[in-house]
């Protein structure tokens, strides 16, 4: 594992060079926060609490969602597609490295860069400018763990899509569909509590809520007891493990096919 650390460091350093981009990314986030603020204020015009959440809680949920969005956005699907298509995959096969782990660490480096430059400033802006109130509770401590697990789940899904893209020779369509499905049904856009009961029941069985909803709830209502949080974390862990293994198996299968087909 240690030998992969330089990979993470490399992608982190690349992030340092692209300062202009980060400036704009922060501006972009600010605009999003502003629009979300107005939108939800307008929605909460009618009542103090909706579906068990106050305006402050919902805005925190949505705002934080935008802050961690860039963290959880892995490009594993495009990396795979590109590498397989360009045949660069052959290069990795001949080296004593594990491609999946390699891709994971590559993402990790840029993820850490994004935390420093995007997530933290966004969180600060939320507290200082939008006067969002953060509550306290055990949820706050579980948040980082939950975030890490969420990253793993997101990564594995993207990885999976990337390999599927290799079979169908079309990554955009799959990626876009996955993007929408994940964004809408994971709580990245609106808290899952707003969905009709029936749909919510289905959603809780899918891995998507493990990406946004779970970690966001830790911060939104951190004072809920451990008996609520621990099962959520375990679900995340389960999904992370299952998906990581599935992606790996799928990848090995695809490589076998690639080797036979040649090219």
């Amino acid at each position: 594992m240690r030998s992969y650390l330089p990979v993470a460091r490399a992608t982190y350093m690349i992030g340092l060079v692209y300062r202009f981009g980060f400036l704009f990314a922060i501006v972009g986030n600010l605009v999003y926060l502003g629009v979300a603020y107005y939108l939800w204020k307008s929605i909460y015009r009618h009542s103090e609490t909706l579906r068990g959440l106050t305006f402050n809680e919902t805005f925190l949920y949505v705002g934080l969602g935008s802050a961690i969005f860039i963290l959880l956005k892995t490009y594993a699907d495009w990396i795979i597609h590109y590498e397989i298509r360009e045949g660069a995959i052959a290069m990795y096969l001949t080296k004593p490295i594990d491609f999946q782990i390699y891709a994971l660490f590559a993402n990790l480096g840029s993820m850490i860069m994004n935390v420093t430059v995007l997530t933290i400033p966004t969180a600060l802006i939320m507290t200082l400018i939008f006067k969002v109130k953060f509550a306290f509770g055990p949820g706050l401590f579980l948040f980082p763990i939950s975030l890490l697990l969420a990253f793993l789940v997101s990564f594995s899904i993207d990885y999976f899509i990337g390999i599927m893209g290799f079979y169908t020779e079309s990554v955009w369509g799959l990626s876009a569909t996955k993007e929408i499905v994940v964004t809408v049904f994971s709580g990245a856009l609106i808290p899952l509590q707003f969905f009709p009961e029936a749909i919510q029941k289905v959603l809780y069985w899918l891995p998507f809520q493990a990406i946004y909803h779970t970690p966001l709830m830790m911060m939104t209502k951190p004072d809920q007891g451990l008996n609520i949080f621990l099962p959520m974390i375990l679900v995340q862990l389960a999904w992370a493990a299952i998906l990581f293994v599935l992606a790996r198996l799928f990848y090995n299968q695809a490589i076998k096919v690639l080797r036979i087909a040649g090219g």
Binding site: R19, F20, F22, L23, V117
Partner: protein
């Protein structure tokens, strides 16, 4: 009036000195310090219709910059440049009608379309009438058998086939001047021969002026009557190829990888060569990148085989390559006054 007239041409670039960090990026947006790079300093030459001119020089010499000014992409900083009587930069679209351009590696044809469709689209773009179109397509087929490639998508072609198509395409609209940039790069000898023959025939059939930029001296020898050598933004030589030919033909470079190579080894090699072959041996030794030593030999004075066996006997040689003289070495020789 010459087709291409260039006098006192210069091009300067202002490069921003970037500051560090996020704060630096912010400040760069508002105020910055610049440094000036002189890519082309003071260039003058005239080219007449029908000439095939080799425009050569090392990387970073200012070749591409001059070409970009001739094709109207870059605005000159100073001097005069006229192609067919007009300044290229101010008349891009009009000039494009009388010009053809080919980039060695990157195709100008439509990637996903069959070859013939690219030609048909070009016919529309350049407003080529049907008669001219048919005549040219017939000529291309006669010269390189283009018909066989018509239905293939450009992206399925081999590099050589693509180059032939790109070159043919650049002549389709009967341009007055065609700029060829590295037309034979990465190709094997037989394809290179085909391409050179195509270029030469098209030049004589249509009296098209050809400006050739290349690192391949075989191209230059086969095609050009005139050579312009540029280095560090200035013209080093402008004249008949015969004089420079004498420089290329007899020279060969022996590339060596010597075990346990140190600074001292270089000097020892030089000394030993003088010792063995005498003072006027015409051999130059230089260390190039990554452990390779270039031993450039003037075969008129010392046979390569002699030098090779000498070196093998006296030094621990791990790897050997024999190449024609490189562009860099030619320029160095011209600098050193080899052309008098």
């Amino acid at each position: 009036m010459s087709l291409i007239h260039i006098k006192g041409l210069s091009k300067h670039f202002k490069i921003l000195n970037r500051r560090e960090g996020l704060g630096g990026a912010f400040r760069d947006l508002f105020s910055g310090s610049y440094r000036t790079v002189e890519a082309v300093a003071d260039i003058s030459f005239d080219i007449e219709a029908g000439e095939i001119v080799g425009y050569i020089g090392p990387n970073g010499a200012g070749k591409s910059t001059t070409i970009k000014m001739m094709t109207g992409i870059l605005k000159p900083t100073g001097g005069v440049i006229q192609v067919n009587g007009l300044a290229p930069y101010e008349n891009r679209i009009r000039q494009a009608q009388i010009m053809g351009v080919v980039f060695g590696q990157r195709t100008q044809l439509w990637w996903d379309l069959p070859v013939i469709e690219s030609f048909k689209i070009l016919k529309e773009i350049y407003k080529v009438d049907q008669t001219t179109f048919d005549k040219h397509m017939g000529l291309f087929n006669e010269l390189v058998g283009l018909n066989a490639l018509y239905s293939q998508q450009v992206r399925t072609l081999s590099l050589g086939q693509r180059m032939l198509c790109d070159i043919a395409a650049s002549f389709l609209h009967n341009p007055q001047v065609v700029f060829l940039d590295e037309p034979t790069i990465g190709l094997d000898i037989s394809v290179k021969a085909k391409i050179r023959s195509l270029i030469k025939t098209l030049n004589s059939e249509r009296n098209t002026t050809i400006i050739l930029t290349t690192h391949d001296l075989g191209d230059v020898e086969a095609l050009c009557q005139r050579i312009i050598i540029i280095d560090k933004g200035r013209i080093l030589y402008d004249g008949d190829i015969k004089r420079v030919n004498a420089l290329f033909g007899a020279y060969r470079t022996l590339k060596l990888q010597i075990d346990n190579f140190t600074e001292a080894t270089l000097q020892t090699l030089k000394d030993k060569l003088t010792e063995c072959f005498g003072a006027g041996h015409g051999i130059t030794v230089a260390e190039t990148e990554e452990f390779w030593t270039d031993v450039t030999i003037d075969q008129a004075r010392t046979p390569l085989s002699d030098v090779l066996s000498f070196v093998m006997k006296n030094f621990q040689v791990i790897d050997v390559r024999i190449v024609e003289i490189s562009m860099e070495n030619v320029v160095r020789k011209v600098y050193d006054g080899a052309l008098g």
